[in-house]
Amino acid sequence: MNRRFDLHLLGWLLLVVAGLLLVPLVAAVAFEDAPGPFVSALLLAGVAGAGLVAVTQTKERNLRARDGFLVVSGAWAVTSLVGALPYLLSGSLGPVDALFESVSGFTTTGSTVIADVSALPRSLLLWRAMTQWLGGMGIILFTIAILPLLGIGGMQLFKAEVPGPVADKVRPRLAATARTLWGLYVGFTVAQWLALMLCGLSWFDALCHALTTLATGGFSTRNASVGEFSSPAVEWVVIVFMLAAGMNFVLHYKALTGRWSDVVRDVELRYFLAVVGGAAVLLFAVLWDQGKGVHDTVRAALFQTVSIVTTTGYVSVDYELWPHAAQFLLVALMLFGGMSGSTGGGPKSLRILLALRSLRATVHRFIHPHAVVPVKYHGQVVSDGVLSGVAAFLTAYVLLAGGAAAVVTAAGYDFATAVSASLTAIGNVGPGLGAVGAMDNFSSFPAAVKLLLSACMLLGRLEIFTILVLFSRQFWRH
């Protein structure tokens, strides 16, 4: 491991975060909010970053896989801590709540401990939306895009941060790849910002929602989320952009460069859309006898399905008033997640797809004990290494969810609250059921549960293993 250079990178990352804090600082001055919290946070991050960069100068710039895990985990921990400072220093939240809100932001979860969001200063609301936006495409990828820091081994960081079992480059060079992906992301965000303004939202509401939609985050500037606008047009725009954010950005790149046939033939995309479509039809069927009319029912079913599958976590209506079957369906959808290479959370549709195909192959082998049954994806045989990686990930995911749910029940909460809270945290979704339902928030949980759920969000965003390997004793041996 190259610990000196790892720390050097973390130092640069702190400087980048400090630079980003300029945005809410300028906003605070413009909106005549108190700029103090942002100034202090910026100075703290800036001084710490500059100091770290200065004392860890090194020529040795190679990174191994282990460095990738260490830097990415460290970066997300450090970023979450800095991100909590504005909440804490403005007096809006206590230390644990501030950390929870910050982690929920950067991991694009969107669970909140703030009961009255609309009472926050607008500069703080902007920072809250920005944390999600930065976390969505990835703070490391952002750093790679803007700073020419990395030599060989930058791929290790890319792989450790990008969601999904495979990390594809869209350009030969990593820095160019990072710039392209971030460029697409910015483009989509601006497009949605304009679209929401056309639907009648103020520029500020439109911006904050664009930032949190593309990140599949789900923080809103309103207490009742997107539902508070009561605007079908806004909901349709959000549905479209949530879907786009839940798709692999490599496919967006291919579509924009005219390679439509690659996009149309993408197996994971077809599967992802089939899950969304199927679930929306089911939800529509369950909601139909509520008598809300075709358009409203279709929109409500589609909005909530897309919101949960892409792990955005917006709410357009209070789904806790829906039948139990509908509520169960929403929790079940948390186990799917966005596509690999998207900004969405969850186990990722590619992993579920591969798991289902191995399941089919295993059944086939029971029937034909001597048959050779490869698992294929895009016509290629998937190696056993990849398949066992998928199986290990899903096992870890379920164990983690079960363990976290058990702790929440031990704190005195009911089954629905516990299971949904743990799944929503690991899947980076946002709202759950029961005490953390559509119209509730996470503030009632004891501090220990909040910290546990924060850890689950980080584990979920970095896909468990990036953090889990740090707890292996062998990791720290030379």
């Binding site: 896989a65 060989i152 081994g153 930058g154 791929m155 290790q156 792989k159 480059k169 350009r171 030969p172 060079r173 990593l174 160019a176 290629q380 190696s383």
Partner: protein
Amino acid sequence: MRALVVGGGLVGSTLAARLARDRHDVVIVESDRERLQGLADDLDVQVVAGNGTAVEVLRQAGIEECDVLFACTSSDEANMVVALMGSALFKVPRVVARLRDRSHEASFAAIAQRLGGEHVCINPDQAAVEKILSLLPVPGAVDVVTFLDGKLIIAGFPIPAGSDFEGLLLSHLRLLFPSPPVLAVAIRRGEESFVPHGEDEFRAGDLAYFAIDPHELGNVLKLLGVRRGSEERVMIAGASRIGLELAQRLEARNEDVTLFEDDLEVAEAAAAQLKRTVVVRAQATDREVLEEEGVERASAFVACTDDSSLNVMACLLARRLGAARAFSLVDNPALTRMVGELGIDAVVSPRLLTVGLAVQFVRRGRVRAAAALMEDLIELVEVEVESGSRLVGPPLAELGLPRGTLVAALLRGKNVIVPGGGDRILVGDRALLITSTARAAELDAFVGGQ
């Protein structure tokens, strides 16, 4: 620039690493998925899985946009198909094919002639033979490159303890060799390689590269205390493609050659093709036969079998038995450095030579010739100075060359000049520049800029 490398073996991957380091966009096509994964992890390149001879795969790898195509799989036939497809179907402007068989080279050249674009074949074996032939006349050298139409030799020598060079200030070299001057252009000390300046001094154990006028070579060797073999006889172990070719070339120069080959059939075939060479059927590591053939009087022992480890062992044995110098073919970069420390005089890697030639081809146009020293850490570039070049005008000290760049020599008319800081470069000169590889791209930009 965008480069497409077909074949991700040692040549392909080393080449890709070099190109990526020089900030080119590189795409590698390789059919072995495991190897591909390793490349994707280690290098800043894009990888495409598949067989490079398939049009669809090449298209997917972006051959339509690429500026230069390298065909370096292990198969000559595949390389020809890839390279010719690149020219004929996709109009790639520059194409490099790695071909080992001479007859393939001829066929390739014949077809390529009728297609547009620039083509070059690189023959790793040929490159290795040339390398060994350039090493042989310079006793004691671990590496030799000639520049400026052969009027300047760049040769690397280990500085032995107790020689006149130990403790010598570089600026005092001019006192020892007033005219024509000898210049130290690069030094490797332990793990560090650098382009030295006047205040540096030589230390025992350094590997020092000198720019030497061929006429002055004898004096340099004397001061270094290099010993020569009593007899001008070259012994070659292994009648591989390289061993056989080397024997033929040496025969043509009227040198005495002994060739060892273990396999009877191969030995017989070699004997049939050679004229004066003594072909001995024996293993390269057979001590008794080596002694019998007088290895202790040989001026050089060259191990050319296809087995790198066997080559190393044979060289160690030959040195112990008294051969004046031993050269080994080693196609394993991890071994190369270590082998040098074992007391083998020079290690030649056909595949790394191939990479060097391929990189030179990419840079050609701006530079006339280029070479890399010390596992690619130091780079030499020969440029033709045209009017409007940034090299012309102010004295060298004020030219603003990239840091750590040295103008080693100028060829003006028929004379080689070793310039000082006050000298100027004129239009029509040929200049030999030296820099660290990390700054090669900077130097290229400086030389290329008008």
